[in-house]
Symmetry: C2
Subunit: 324 residues, 2 copies
Amino acid sequence: MSRDLYLGVDAGGTAIKYEVAGPGSLACGGGQIPTDPRDAGATLRALAADAAPLLGGAGLPRLAGAGLACAGIVNPVTGWLGRSPNLPGWENSDLGAAMHAAFGDVPVALANDVNGALYGEYRHGAGRGHRDVVMIALGTGVGGAVIVAGSLLLGQHFGAGEIGHMVLDDDGPPCACGSRGCLEAWAGSTGLLRAARAAVAAGTATPALTRLVAARGADLETRDLAGLAGEGDASASTLFAAAGRRLGQAVANLVNVLDPDCVIIGGGVARAGDLILGPCRERALPLVLARGAKDVPIIPAELGPRAAAVGAASLAREKAQEVR
Amino acid sequence: MSRDLYLGVDAGGTAIKYEVAGPGSLACGGGQIPTDPRDAGATLRALAADAAPLLGGAGLPRLAGAGLACAGIVNPVTGWLGRSPNLPGWENSDLGAAMHAAFGDVPVALANDVNGALYGEYRHGAGRGHRDVVMIALGTGVGGAVIVAGSLLLGQHFGAGEIGHMVLDDDGPPCACGSRGCLEAWAGSTGLLRAARAAVAAGTATPALTRLVAARGADLETRDLAGLAGEGDASASTLFAAAGRRLGQAVANLVNVLDPDCVIIGGGVARAGDLILGPCRERALPLVLARGAKDVPIIPAELGPRAAAVGAASLAREKAQEVR
């Protein structure tokens, strides 16, 4: 049996997802188990057992490399995981060693979650065929990642890509980071939901949005707002348009600094599609200076929640090819 | 006689400056002649004649490589100069061919002016010993350049580094580019002078600033304002502090995206020193997210107006070493 398969793992605070990929393929299988946020080693051993049937059985004889993406400050060279708020029992530990303990003596790659997602999109999704790619992931918070000339931009302290905390207006809404006017405060789901509730509280919302906010209460999600906007509701559409315009300002700022050939917008909020991407493009493109960059594609991610695990598998494959 | 010297040229709209550098040295001589903004070939031939005594005489027998930096969209691969507002007769032409026509069959390197200046600072100035460096040049306008892992970031359309047009506030002052609230509108000299005149017109300026603005009229320069601020004038200091805080917002946005190990502030306005760098650091550092990046050095450029020519000579040296 030859070692021909790569495992990509995406470790979130509640679930740990995996994808198994062949030498050139996107993925040929995968699964998900609960995360033990206090114990990386136990979680990864349970994952190895769960994935074993896809990898040739116990001992994982077909495994040629394993990659792991998780939120936090990840040093892909030493394998060290620094601060990682969603995985309190994993942070400040040697995640590379934990990976080897679970998966054996195969090449191991590590990345932070948005870097993993961008790498997945770059190899197998919306970024295929591009070389300089920016990704913005609109989730509860807003993350980002950058590929320059085919390589992930890591930064001196493995802190690059914090696009969500680009300050777009000193007087903007407060952000979870303590600043005001960060992109995240407008275009993350927390910001969008707050804006929806504020519109209702101010009495400026349509009756439909007012009813929705009352009915859903604390369970309100951006997908509820996107559904209403999709039905043509003016208040809900305005919320996404405002977020989209701020996203556009951030995209233009990035395009002017980096001049990439592709900007990918991912994350749950991006599932609102052109409700947010339309106003984003409309705001961004006139702000772009370089003539050739004025038609830079600003496109939705393709791999959805699988992106980070797919990217981790791709990174493992490249690590294995380097080693060889 | 061996070919052991490198020529670096900085082509501005009125003057063309040059520096001659040895294999490892900063520069061992240089000079300046007027630019003919309508004729690149004639200007470069005149420059070759002017520099000949430093390069072994006619025929330039000691010249091992030549670099040229100029404002505009420069394709360093093909040698093509696209849009270049200060050099109307040079734009849309094969500058690489013009360099060879003037300097013979030696390796030729091209760069835009801020990339050239950053490369000079990186090799021989404030950026020595760093690997990931951002530069912001505060002149009439505001330019920028980025080095990632030791290489200039060019971008897909050779348009990277337009840091001056990062939009920091939708409602900010108008910028020459047609947008509002670009960094340049606050921290370029045009923006600073406008703010000074506006303070006087509004009657909020100190008597000293009011007198200065009246006395200097259309000849007012940022160095006049810096002189007054240096004497402790509150209004003049406030102008630099406001520009510095906006510069700090831009620096933080860049540090959060790129996580460099050094940020260099150059250009004429930066000669105001801590009047502008103090408020810049004060605003920037609390906005930086990655723990390790919170003490990123934000430092003044060292090479002043020589930077771009020094950088062009360094780029020529590296091109020659690649070719060999």
